[in-house]
């Protein structure tokens, strides 16, 4: 299972959880993750589709072609709002 961290308003879309788990094979791409999320969490999927939410892998913003392994630190990041 791949663990995916959630931040900010995304937690409200997943019953307040700050983490979700997705069954994926090592070597799956970020876009495969997005496709799976669209099925399981349609609202989250839509935000990803619209690029309002981005995927980070090991603390860097990832492309949709980035390949994933289970040990990666994966997170979904809604629009940033730091800085006052």
């Amino acid at each position: 299972m791949f663990q995916v961290r959630l931040f900010g308003m995304l937690k409200t879309l997943v019953a307040g959880s700050n983490m979700l788990e997705m069954p994926l094979a090592d070597g799956a791409l970020v876009k495969d993750l997005v496709d799976s999320l669209k099925v399981e969490y349609p609202e989250l999927g839509k935000l990803l589709e619209q690029k309002k939410v981005v995927v980070s892998v090991n603390q860097e913003i990832a492309h949709w072609e980035t390949a994933l392994v289970e040990s990666d630190e994966i997170a979904l990041l809604p629009p940033f709002a730091g800085g006052a």
């Binding site: 931040f7 900010g8 997170a75 990041l77 629009p79 730091g82």
Partner: protein
């Protein structure tokens, strides 16, 4: 004033408040060539996009937030004619009027200090994984500054 001046202290995400005088010491201690210091302090407003705000809280992605602030400091030092830069952001609950974010840039000349300081805060808002929850009379709202 004796303060630590290692690079780790110049880029921080912390829960507690900070003293501007103390943070300034870290920057000015770096060089007697500094003649102009530009600073930006972001504070919690009681008003936001047409609604009242009673207080707020910031959430950050621990690790990645620090990494991005570090990148901002390093790029500022590389791309501008400045001597030192400090970047701090608070997380957790913050009351109206309190400090949220501090940028301090020391340079030989003021124009460079201003340019770099503005760039740092603009870039911070763009690339740092930090999120804001506003507590308002109408309820709690996650703020989307860059939708």
């Amino acid at each position: 004033m004796a303060v630590e001046t290692d690079a780790d202290m110049l880029v921080r995400v912390q829960e507690g408040n900070f003293s501007i005088d103390q943070e300034l010491e870290r920057v000015r201690a770096r060089s007697t060539k500094i003649g102009g210091i530009a600073m930006f302090l972001g504070t919690a407003r009681d008003h936001s996009k047409g609604h009242d705000v009673s207080s707020m809280a910031f959430e950050h992605y621990e690790g990645m937030a620090q990494k991005k602030l570090k990148e901002i400091r390093e790029r500022a030092l590389q791309d501008f004619d400045i001597i030192e830069a400090l970047v701090l952001h608070r997380y957790g609950p913050i009351e109206i009027g309190e400090n949220i974010v501090l940028i301090i840039v020391g340079a030989q000349h003021r124009a460079d200090a201003f340019k770099a300081c503005q760039w740092c805060i603009d870039e911070l808002k763009k690339i740092t994984p930090i999120w804001k929850m506003e507590y308002t009379p109408q309820g709690d709202v996650w703020v989307e500054e860059h939708p």
